[in-house]
């Protein structure tokens, strides 16, 4: 544990996550949690407070549920209308577009129209007409979004395309939280943006990594894998029983079988968030290619087993992930 003595910092050695102070804050329809190793608890609390204030600010900028957020203004804009954005929304949209490209369109923040087409409001399956499918397809894809770096502004090229940063916003917020914690010299910290996105700011002295475990979503008692997160982020996607997945790359086939769960380890929480979503539907070969093409990236996949056999034996790993322990 680091001890603050005036301006001097003394290493007294941390041993486990229980040595860290824990702070929690509700935002973005989830709970943000921080584990911070720091001798002065009051100081850590104030740093956490500054970090949570940043999350609240980002939610006002990026939530599609707020009528005056940047994303709502973009969703309400007429084609050809330029929407001036805040730096954060602009950066987040740029990253979303980058991840759309890197995942071959599997991660898509404009997928709402397709879900609306294939699912009822209660998320049960519906059978759309070919015309409806065609219409939803025409409103999907980030080729409908033009981002202008020279003016921090965006333009929607096609009327009716709707964007939702839900799949990447929490990862973006986790990165901004890490920035603030670094400013506060509180970098021996772990950021949880809900249980599904976890970012290591840095590993505390005396610890070899932040301990992570991955569970089977259909049988939470079953731990599939354990590993230590040293740097970067890990993000998980999964589906509840009966939940459907739409692959934006193959609109006309409707819901796909996809995976039962997918985890992504990546250099930052934005890439982790977006790629774990994509891993739910990318093929094994595509995931492997993705992990090879992107440094410090790994995937852990729990395939959908037709036989109904969901056990760790079916877990597959891709990319470089040191010291992952599969619970066989």
């Amino acid at each position: 544990m680091m001890k603050r003595q005036g301006d001097r910092v003394v290493d007294v050695g941390a041993r486990s996550i229980t040595d860290a102070h824990h702070f929690a804050h509700e935002a973005m329809a989830t709970v943000f949690e921080l584990y911070i190793v720091e001798e002065d608890e009051a100081y850590a609390r104030q740093g956490a407070q500054a970090a949570f204030a940043e999350v609240d600010r980002l939610e006002l900028e990026m939530s599609r549920f707020l009528s005056n957020s940047d994303i709502s203004r973009l969703n309400d804009a007429e084609p050809g209308q330029t929407v001036a954005l805040g730096m954060d929304s602009f950066e987040c949209l740029c990253r979303a577009k980058e991840m759309f490209g890197k995942t071959g369109g599997a991660f898509d923040i404009s997928i709402g129209a397709l879900y609306g087409c294939w699912l009822h409001e209660d998320r049960t399956l519906r059978q759309p007409s070919p015309k409806e499918i065609q219409h939803a397809h025409a409103l999907t894809g980030l080729n409908h979004l033009e981002l202008d770096e020279s003016g921090f502004c965006a333009e929607v090229l096609t009327e009716g395309v709707q964007f939702d940063l839900g799949g990447i916003g929490k990862g973006y917020a986790a990165e901004k939280v890490a920035e603030i914690l670094r400013e506060w010299s509180l970098d021996q910290a772990l950021v949880l943006a809900g249980a599904s996105s976890v970012l290591s700011v840095s590993v505390p002295e005396g610890m070899s990594g932040w301990p992570m475990k991955l569970r089977n979503p259909e049988n939470p008692n079953e731990v599939l894998a354990r590993f230590e997160l040293k740097e970067g982020a890990v993000s998980g996607s999964g589906r509840q029983k009966g939940q459907h997945i739409i692959d934006p790359r193959s609109v006309d086939v409707g819901p796909v079988k996809g995976r039962l769960a997918a985890w992504s380890v990546a250099p930052d929480a934005i890439a982790a968030d977006a790629s774990s979503t994509a891993f739910m539907m990318l093929s094994d070969e595509e995931i492997n290619e993705y992990c090879l093409a992107n440094a410090r990236t790994a995937a852990i996949i729990l395939p959908h087993a037709d036989s109904g056999e969901f056990s760790s034996r079916t877990v597959r790993c891709f990319g470089e992930l040191e010291e992952i322990e599969l619970e066989t």
Binding site: R4, D7, H25, A42, Y43, R45, Q46, G47, Q49, A50, A53, L60, L66, S67, N68, D70, S72, R73, D76, T82, V83, A84, L85, G86, M87, S150, G151, F152, C153, E183, W184, S185
Partner: protein, 452 residues
Amino acid sequence: MNNQIDRRNFISSSAAAGAGLMIANSALGQAGGKKDINIALLGAGAQGQVLMNAILKLGRNSGVKFRAVCDIWEKGNLRRVSRTLKAYGRLGHKGTAYVDYQEMLEKEKDLDAVLVATPDFWHAEHTIACFEKGLHVYCEKEMSNSLEAAKNMVLAGRKAEKLLQIGHQRRSNPRYIYCNEKIIKEANLLNRITNISGQWHRSRAGCVDLGWPDGTEIPKETLKKFGFDDMAQFRNWRWYKGLGGGPIVDLGSHQIDVYSWFLDNAVPSSVMASGGVDYWKDHEWYDNAIAIFEFPTKKGLVRASYETLTTNSSNGYYELFMGDEGTLLISESAGRGELYRESWVDEAKWDPWVQKGMINLEKASAKAAVKAGDDEVDVRESATPALYRMPIEMKDPYHQPHLVNFFESVRGNQTLNCPGEIGYETAVMVLKVNEAIAAARKIELKPEDFKV
């Protein structure tokens, strides 16, 4: 003077009296024009950053350009804001950084207006210095922590023939304007307003003292020069006497301003209040305050209560206007707005407004317990009043419409929605709450107490 005078009359009468709103506009010689307005941000804390971001989101063609920013926290606010403005340099903004406001006003020769978002006790000095340089001012509320200083701000603006907009941003919020002009005035759906209540409740977790990153401290001599004992006081100035006014001023001011506005800018004839430093040990200002105002209006007396807490966030923040025929709940919080018809009022009375699209019926009231032609009482859950909603959303970033109103007034295309005279009335209302708590008695107020 009749204190129920409406705002438009008020503004034009104060202008005609030489206060100079219209005169100032024509003096610019650019009525109707889209000339660039060069601005500086004086005070770059959380609120200053909100204003800055709202302006940056006006985009490339707004004609409003930042030139400079001033804040005494060099390694905190100043660095953050000047970095953002530098990034927006591609849109023509500039963020030359100053610690000393006098140096900024001296060196920045091409400014037209300044946004003042410093701690309350600095507002008057900063605003008056800007007027003396011939600049228009958008000043955050509270205008000042002293009524005398607030009065001097208005007088200095009149003398300089420059505009002073006070940052009660709800006055430019389309949802609030709609409620006032359409629901209350045009349709008169509440009929006679008899009571108002409102609150802003925050959780304990949301009210913990602000800290600062190690190594970013403001030098002691700078803190002292600018009126702060230490870094903790600088970061939490709102809690200190002589610097801020506590939650009743920080939050209550916005909402009590709306009470007055929706009552045709009526001012209260009395205030009584209770409050104290009951929970937070190191604070000087009251961590909770509960106030009751009496507003005489043309239609009769309106009794209005207001409450702000720092320990429990139950029900958040809103203002509730109660008339003998209906109730309006409005909040700046996005999407929060409800309108209820009292159950004795015939549905047919509100129907025409639904037909016109002025309000939407969301949930009809339960039918009468005894139906026509029936001789038995239908016993069931208690009847709920009919719920209506306003078909209008706030689609612009918070504060942006109020800032635009200021810039368009500078250009001569609009008049201010919250000139200093109105800001002064609100300052009287909320500063008198603190006075009533300290005195532990009802304070009587005269219409002239609200005049500059």
